[in-house]
Amino acid sequence: MIEIIELNRYYDNQKERFYALKDINLTINRGEFVLLHGVSGSGKTTLLTLIAGMDKPNSGIVKIEGEPIIKLPDQHLSKFRNQHIGIIFQHYNLLENLSVYDNIATPLIPMRLSLKEIDKRVKESLEIANISHKANSLASRLSGGEKQRTAIARALVTQASIILCDEPTANLDKANREMFLEILHKLHKLNKTIIVSTHDPIFNDLDYVTRWVSIVDGKIV
């Protein structure tokens, strides 16, 4: 379960204070599929980064599975993120100089697993994301859809219970978007909590979306 209480994130410049997020209160239960709706700059990405613990708020609390993550020291926060949260970025954020296999294995390294266990998990993720045939290809040589599927496999490999997606379909063609939705649906069936930040209308007609959250100018409406 994700609990967000009175969350604020602002930036002070010379003249005024700009609120990226203001007084956000939100509770997301385990297994929910939540869509964050809003135009560019509304604060969706900021909210995702705060939930993932990748940024620090100016005030407020974020609790995940009862653990208040904001004030966790880096060692604990990173470990928590590594084990509980998988992230799919808008621009994929793959390590271009490494292969698909090695990209997917990257989040497993801080877990201190054996090479054998890593190999098992990577292969499972490759299957789910339907990208096994490209395991040895360099990430720089993949198409947009293939990169996105690699990113999905990487988000799944740690067996995280929460998947965060930031504009996941923004750079995909129609066929790849539909393929992406299929995989997302598979994940939802595995009882993962999924939060997608998007303004792509393809999500509007999905029947397995449990909640729509609209964000306008940093506030939930």
Binding site: T49, A52, S78, N93, D102, I109, P110, R154
Partner: protein, 392 residues
């Protein structure tokens, strides 16, 4: 450090070789020069020590002003009276000037009956040759520098010396001293002691100096005081002072080199600092991604520092190996002249390989420590990139 981590480190490192190549190349050159100089210096210290092992602990000379003059044999009787001194060896040697060169040979007289000289000589040539050497009276044993000079000046195997009395003495080169001793014996001409007296004009009742041993090091100071008290113009030199003098000479050269090296080191450190700071903008996205995926600051610090250590290790291994080959296999052309430039006759030494962990630590401390110190802050900056950078 787990093996997946090592695998990731190596994969990442070798997939981005071009980033590291400049630093590695510079490092190799620096370590190569540094290790060559230290190998030469170490080798020379070792050769000096080995040569001095066979030398007597004390040498007594007679001085007039600042010039050494021949000393009466009777002084030996007075020396024997001092307890702690067991046996006194009279020595005859001196410089014989070759007019065309303006240089000189060192004529060393050897007494067949003298055990001390035998021991020294036996370090240089084997005993069979030594016995044959003393069989005839017109043999000489020469250093390699003398041999080269003879060949360059088209002397066959014989050399004629002129005595102060105007007579001539022709000697045959019986044996050439081995390469290993060239540092000290290059300009030596070893002859029977009475031939040495003839050539150098040292009378029968005199010698060039006396040599003796004092086994107990704690008694050296007392012995020095007692011997000096025998006569106002006696100079007492002990082995450690000879070693010190050579050491200071090479240390001076080493110190000079080190000061130049320090300037190079400072420049290298600044370049490194700047280079790694430049990498910050390129690498922060990569680190941002790793942090977003759950790598902690400790993990990313480990990654970046081990990358730097890999650069150090690769450069160190190649640089030291090249230095070793340059000095011990090719005898350090050009560089050796810096150390040996001021010798009497041209010396072409063979450097004895002397590599110990102390030497390797010295090279490491001079290179790796400043390297790590220079990149500490830039690497920390990169490794502590906010994971938010991955969202940009």
């Amino acid at each position: 450090m787990s093996s997946p981590f090592i695998r990731f480190l190596l994969l990442n490192f070798f997939s981005e070789k071009s980033k590291q190549v400049t630093v590695i190349l510079f490092s190799i050159i620096i370590i190569f020069i540094l290790s060559s100089v230290l190998f030469i210096s170490n080798s020379m210290h070792y050769s000096i020590k080995e040569a001095l092992k066979a030398q007597p602990d004390f040498v007594i000379q007679k001085m007039r002003g600042d010039k050494q003059i021949d000393i009466s044999e009777r002084v030996s009787d007075e020396l024997i009276e001092i307890p702690s001194i067991a046996k006194v060896t009279p020595r005859v040697y001196g410089r014989y000037f070759i007019k065309p060169l303006g240089k000189s040979f060192l004529i060393v007289g050897v007494d067949f009956f003298d055990v001390q000289s035998h021991r020294v000589l036996e370090k240089l040539i084997d005993s069979t040759n030594l016995n044959n050497f003393f069989d005839t009276r017109d043999n000489m044993i020469i250093g390699r520098g003398v041999k080269r000079w003879m060949e360059d000046n088209h002397y066959d195997n014989n050399l004629t010396f002129f005595t102060p009395k105007g007579k001539s003495v022709t000697l045959k080169a019986f044996y050439t001293l081995p390469k290993e001793s060239e540092l000290f014996s290059a300009d030596m001409v070893i002859v029977p002691i009475d031939i040495a007296r003839k050539i150098l004009g040292v009378s029968r009742r005199k010698v060039t100096d006396f040599a003796f041993n004092v086994p107990n090091v704690l008694e050296w100071e007392i012995v020095t005081i007692k011997v000096s008290a025998l006569d106002y113009d006696l100079r007492v030199i002990n082995k450690k002072e000879s070693y010190k003098a050579y050491s200071e000479y090479f240390d001076f050269k080493g110190g000079f080199f080190l000061s130049i090296f320090l300037i190079v080191l400072v420049s290298f450190s600044l370049i490194l600092y700047q280079r790694y700071s430049q990498l910050y903008s390129i690498e922060r996205r990569q680190i941002g991604i790793l942090r977003a995926l759950g790598w902690s600051i400790k993990d990313t610090l480990k990654l970046k520092f081990f990358e730097a250590l890999l650069v150090i290790f690769i450069s160190y291994a190649i640089g030291v190996l090249l230095g070793y080959i340059f000095v011990y296999i090719f005898d350090a052309p050009i560089l050796k002249d810096i150390f040996l430039g001021s010798f009497n006759i041209e010396v072409e030494p063979t450097f004895v390989p002397v590599v110990d962990i102390f030497l390797l630590s010295s090279i490491f401390l001079l290179y790796a420590l400043p390297f790590i110190a220079s990149v500490l802050i830039p690497v920390w900056k990169i490794a502590t990139t906010n994971p938010k950078e991955a969202m940009v």
